[in-house]
Amino acid sequence: MSPNTQEGIVDRELRSPSYLQNGTTIRSWLLTTDHKRIGILYAMSITFFFFLGGIAATLIRLELISPTGLFLTNDEYNRAFTLHGIVMVWFFLVPSIPTTLGNFLLPMMIGAKDVAFPRLNLMSWYLFIAGGLLTVLALIAGGVDTGWTFYTPFSTLYSNSHVLLAAMGVFVVGFSSIATGVNFIATVHLLRAKGMTWMRLPLFGWAMYTTSLVMVLATPVLAMSLLLVVAERAFGLPIFDPRSGGDPLLFQHLFWFYSHPAVYIMVLPAFGVVSEIITCEARRRIFGYQFMVYAMVVIAVIGFMVWGHHMFVSGQSAFASLVFSFLSFVIAVPSAIKVFNWTGTLYRGQIRFSAPMLYALGFIGLFTIGGLTGLFLASIPIDVDLTDTYFVVAHFHYIMVGGSVSAFFGGLHFWWPKITGRMYSERLAQFAAISMFFGFNFTFFPQFIMGWMGMPRRYHLYAPEFQPWHVMSSMGAVVLAFGYAWPVFYLGWSLFKGQRAPDNPWDATGLEWQTRSPPPKENFDRTPVVTDGPYKYHPQDSTPHEVEQAQAPQVP
């Protein structure tokens, strides 16, 4: 054992209780301003919404087994995919990594005691719950049938479903995002520990920072577009109504001005998580730290300039389409830099195929496929052919589910010992990671093929030649569902019966690992001082060969 551990044993009695023991009443949780507890509150809430959206997905995949539909009416099918989209985008994917892992880890990674505005942080959770309740209310009242995109004039003039409730739910939850964003930006600017310069920030910190910028600058535009929908639908004010000279395209511009950057709200945090896991599990410094940082910043900025690629067939000018197409190609460059740099990080590393690493490697593969098919869709002639087909559906699921959700699960496993103070079963977790990877591909790869063949999205009655692909996809969804549900059991088991986790089970270098598991309320027993950059897994100047020699053999 290293001398550190012994030192830890000596002063154990003198130490303050962990954040979990610091008040155990429900009240102490509901009124907490501790960023770690708020992260846990968020984690429980988004898990609920994940399974709610999952139920809708199950209904969709079941219904699609037969070309004539199995048990849903047209109307019910519309409501099912709308519910799936709204819940998964705003109540799971957007908040997933930032509000759970981000809340928990960001202050610890920069050596702070909490986020800059702890009470605002709690308020953001209550806003999330309020928005969630409105949306659940819309569901109970009978659901929404506009699709998650709320396109006008259908949403404002024609739909006979509960658009107002759902739009208000999303409006409110948007402000919870904004609150988190403001908080994180201030935290990173103001609360970095002594010596934690910007270029020493772990990439997860940079990911949270850039994500927050996008949240703060994009979400309000969504809020305004939904407000205008409410004004037109509830009060009959002619805003997008073509009969009064309004333009439904204006809504699409406003909506996608948020919703394209929202993709980066979902995937930038995943970049951060994957960078932390890969460096630790390959025992390597990150390849090209500065490029990784600038790539994220560039993605956050250019992400605001590509929204028009959702509107190639909507009737925007050919010149606008050309510019948006070009910029959509441009944004692929920093994304590709990141993929190459993760691969470069692996080179000559001492790779442990642990569960978090399997998730992270899965992320790289799926994100690459999602990104490359994105280039298909960024080029106008192909997009005109593929718009509103399953090719698009498969593409964004590869990015948002294959990418972000894999990273989320990877991060969940990676930091699980830190968060809960318990170890999980490595074998069972590896099995979950592998089933998720294969289940995901079984589900969504057939969708590329049928999309290419012309299967339109949002239809539940389809031509019989697509049936084999739909059946394949639905079978894959069973495996995928297993991959998502299985961790609930072994992680749940670990909470109560798991082995106690040491402070730093993976020998990671981040500040969050230099404190106890689970951490005390103030995060650190003594305030850390930073003297070097992140990912010090080997000496800066050693050759890869020396790295291999210098590292002790790894126990798998």
């Binding site: 800059a116 505005f117 201030a186 609360l191 600058l217 305004m224 004010l237 000279g245």
Partner: protein
Amino acid sequence: MSSDIIIHEPFETAARQKVAVPFGVWSFLATECLFFGGIFLFYAYARWHGGEAFSAGAKETDIWFGSANTFILMTSSLTMAIAERATKEGLVRLARWMLWATIGFGLAFLVVKGFEYRKDISEHLIPGPHFKLEQGPAAQFWAFYWTVTVTHAIHLTIGLGVVGRLLWIDRRGDLAPHATTAEGTALYWHLVDIVWVILYPLLYLVGRP
């Protein structure tokens, strides 16, 4: 002189804590700019496409109410600025009076706005079946008018809430250590004013010589 502030978690130094609230509010103001940016884009579109008919709708607004409210709100900006500076300098009595004045002007704005709404409604200026003008760009102008003024009024009401909070802090007797709270409040109040300054020409001066 400026009073010391009480350092609270998670801050380690007073210097950092002092900038935190203004920093957070500035970030939030960026959000607000894009929020209003959305509806201004609608205005730009509607005016560009609506042409004469759009301006004809704009002529129906009441410039006297609008100008009075601009005057009221600008004055409230002044009192708010004095209140903020007075808090910083520890002149609690002055700050208190100026905060009350700000609240008074804010309420006056809402009252004037209420009378204006009453007049608008009696003149059938709500787009819909009984709309005074033709459907089309004029109706779009009024759709903008109602949406944006109500949104602005809600912002102003929230502003009254945060100014009221400062007065409540003052009742507890610790306004002086809350100089940064006052600064954040002032920033927000000024944003509400600036939005109105932009709205005033857009709503009341369009189509008038």
